[in-house]
């Protein structure tokens, strides 16, 4: 599957804190448009905003300017999938930042599946799936 080709929702935004809130609302609306119950909408928003916050805080720490977050979402049968990609330096341990990574277990518990990987731009890709529970 090429996510970019089949995504029903795709938006790119600067990797700055202001983008996180806006995209969090947008992915919530996407989930709601597929009939997701309130609890699921909250789960999608929580996990997605955690992934985006990771990108904002950590992905561009070695760059003079923040890069880009790409948020893709779609539906696959009884699941909603969400991809958060950045074009940063990858998720690497930083001695100066003990917070890096602590949100990942939360995302693991919130999503029905979570996979981390390298994005096409060389940054980080967070792929999440949520079983669709309709309200």
């Amino acid at each position: 599957m090429n996510p970019a080709a089949v995504a029903e929702f795709a938006e790119a935004a600067p990797a700055v804190p202001e983008s996180v809130g806006r995209l969090r609302n947008a992915v919530g609306e996407f989930a709601r448009s597929h009939g997701a119950a309130d609890d699921l909408v909250m789960a999608v928003q929580l996990a997605t905003s955690e992934a985006m916050s990771n990108a904002v805080v950590h992905a561009f720490v070695d760059r003079p300017e923040p890069g880009t977050i790409n948020l893709l979402a779609g539906r696959d049968g009884h699941e909603i999938w969400v991809l958060v990609r950045d074009d940063g330096s990858g998720m690497r341990p930083r001695p100066d930042s003990p917070g890096l990574g602590v949100g990942l277990p939360l995302m693991t518990r919130t999503a029905d599946s979570l996979k981390l990987g390298e994005s096409p731009d060389g940054g980080t890709e967070v792929a999440m799936r949520f079983t669709l529970i309709t309200g």
Partner: protein, 144 residues
């Protein structure tokens, strides 16, 4: 003979985490150390009966399509790793605690016939009552 793991001393991150995380980090560290000794029984002491071991780098090369499950699955993993790899090391470089689990940044180096891999990996561990219930390895790209 395959070597399984090497643990680089690292202090757990303590950012915003409750006190019991030290114990969870110790459990995960003990599991990596058990790997390094090729000590299946030692690892099983820290693994829940319903544990899911999602390590696709080995199970896919072993011809499997699903993660390992339970104590039998852990034994299968050790057997597969020894059979599939001529040499395999898992290096845990940075172990970080969170309220819902443990995150391990590291890398693997493996050799199998003509195939040599060096990949950055993030392992995500979930624990319950002091035992691992799930580990997932995430391939983060080529090790520089």
């Amino acid at each position: 003979m395959a070597s399984f793991a090497r643990v680089t001393p690292a202090e757990p991150g303590l950012y915003g985490t409750p006190g019991e995380v030290d114990a969870e980090v110790a459990v995960v560290r003990a599991i990596y150390e058990a790997f390094s000794r090729r000590d299946v029984e030692g690892m099983l002491q820290h693994v829940a009966d319903d544990c899911v071991v999602d390590l696709p780098g080995t199970y896919e090369r072993a011809g499997r399509t699903e993660p390992y499950r339970g104590p039998g699955g852990v034994r299968d993993y050790f057997a597969d790793a020894a059979r599939v790899w001529d040499d395999l090391s898992l290096e845990a470089e940075d172990i970080r605690a969170a309220s819902d689990g443990v995150v391990v940044f590291g890398h693997i180096e493996g050799r199998r016939q003509d195939e040599v891999i060096r990949r950055r990996v993030i392992w995500l561990w979930q624990l319950r009552a002091g035992k691992a219930v799930r580990v997932t390895a995430n391939d983060m790209g080529e090790l520089a």
